[in-house]
Amino acid sequence: MPKKRLPVGDVVIYAVLLVLCLLLFLLPMLRPAADSLTAAIIVDGNVVETVDLSALSGDVIRSVNGCEITVTPDGVRMTAADCPDKLCVRTGAIRAAGESIACVPNRVVVILRSAAENNDPYDVVAY
């Protein structure tokens, strides 16, 4: 029995469907990961260094203006500071975009930013 060929029109429709399904599957991957974080180290209002947390395989320690900042793949903490009150050290770890640690006497701020700002689930953190 001879094989029945699909009509050309059907083949075109199948092809378009296939492409559309692939697009539907791939589109979300075009969005940057929402939880990809960058730590911006700011002194006197100026960013002196940014550290991409997702690129870290271990802890990174930076000494800036009397503050020791430890950046890990899942957050940032101020591990030491020469300021009198040590409020920055007592702040503990920050892990979410928009959160910050400040050492006011040393004028150092560390803020976590999302690599995909527009896809953040919030604009600002109240505390």
């Binding site: 429709i13 957050g75 604009d123």
Partner: protein
């Protein structure tokens, strides 16, 4: 047309619509946002974060920071030449901002039976939360300071303020909210499309960041697991202030002493709360109300919040979350 072709075309149309909708959603997510000027800095002894959406070529953040610095020069008791320092030294000052803050806070002090009181300075200086001399004061010291805490005898006439009983003003409970109000006024004059500003965690949000008018999303910190977020508030505009026992505190003999002082006792509030987040149409009032509600507790805060058309999210010692008033709050799953 065969039946199979009709079905295929129907499937194709449905898939096309789905793909179109999905793509539109993605594009919308990325938003036709206005250009955003971002700035993080330190002022008023705290972190200032700004996202300013505008099309001006000049940066607006430096001007906003100057506004905050000027406010600190006026209301900080630590600044020798401030109006509040002058008031604390001489019992008199003439300043519109200080006078208005004292006038507007008086009804809130009434509502808390004096637990919230801007003249708590003599007591708060003893504790010095976040300062170099942070400590648990002796009971006698607190008892000696309490007679000087009395908002009722402070006189305000236009911009003139008079304290005749040695009261020491501490506007710390409303400073960040006041800064939010002033930054908003400054930015609106500068024709900003929209802005979200955090002054040490007190938030001002107004206008739009995109043409679609997407609501602002203000995340609220979890007061118990402070490295996590409790949930998110969606709002078109307004002010958000939080008072929590995790902000400035120290622990001694297994007990936590935090900066929200009950002006009637001289000791930290004991209302069974971990945090209160207030949403209100005025920054200074949202700041004052969050402290007042923390002192009052969740149950007793409702009439006060209603009288200011404000809403609040309460978290108690056990981590229970409750809301009062009209607030679009979505708690994250724990």
């Amino acid at each position: 047309m065969t039946k199979r072709r009709k079905i295929l075309i129907a499937v194709l149309v449905v898939t096309l619509v789905a793909a179109g909708g999905f793509a539109a959603l993605l594009l919308h997510d990325r938003g036709a946002e206005y250009p955003c000027e971002q700035k993080n800095a330190i002022a008023m002894g705290t972190v200032i974060s700004m996202k300013l959406y505008h099309t001006d070529e000049a940066d607006l953040a430096p001007g906003a920071l100057q506004v905050i610095d000027a406010l600190e020069d006026t209301i900080s008791w630590r600044r020798e030449n401030s109006a509040v320092a002058q008031l604390n030294r001489s019992g008199r000052c003439e300043n519109t901002v200080v006078a208005e803050a004292i006038r507007q806070c008086a009804p809130i002090s009434d509502a808390t039976s004096g637990a919230f009181d801007l003249s708590v300075g003599k007591v708060s200086t003893l504790w010095d939360f976040g300062g170099e001399n942070e400590r648990l004061p002796k009971k006698e010291e607190i008892l000696a300071a309490l007679p000087f805490v009395d908002y009722k005898t402070i006189r305000v006439a236009d911009a003139a303020v008079t304290c005749e009983n040695g009261q020491q003003m501490d506007l710390g409970a409303v400073g960040k909210g006041l800064a939010c109000d002033m930054v908003k006024t400054y930015l609106q004059k500068a024709d900003v499309k929209g802005a979200v500003v955090s002054v040490g965690g007190s938030i001002c949000a107004f206008g739009c960041r995109d043409k679609a008018g997407t609501p602002w999303r203000v995340a609220v910190k979890d007061p118990i697991r402070t490295e996590r977020l409790l949930g998110v508030i969606r709002m078109k505009e307004g002010f958000v202030s939080t008072s929590g026992d995790y902000e400035k505190f120290f622990e001694q003999d297994g007990r936590r002493y935090y900066h929200i002082l009950d002006a009637m006792t001289g000791y930290p509030a004991a209302s069974g709360l971990k945090s209160v987040t207030v949403v209100c149409g005025n920054g200074m009032l949202s700041d004052a109300l969050s402290t007042a509600c923390f002192l009052l507790g969740a149950k007793n805060s409702k009439p006060l919040l209603e009288s200011y058309d404000a809403a609040a999210i309460f978290v108690d010692d056990s981590g229970n979350i409750s809301t009062v008033g009209d607030v679009d709050f979505e708690a994250y799953e724990s």
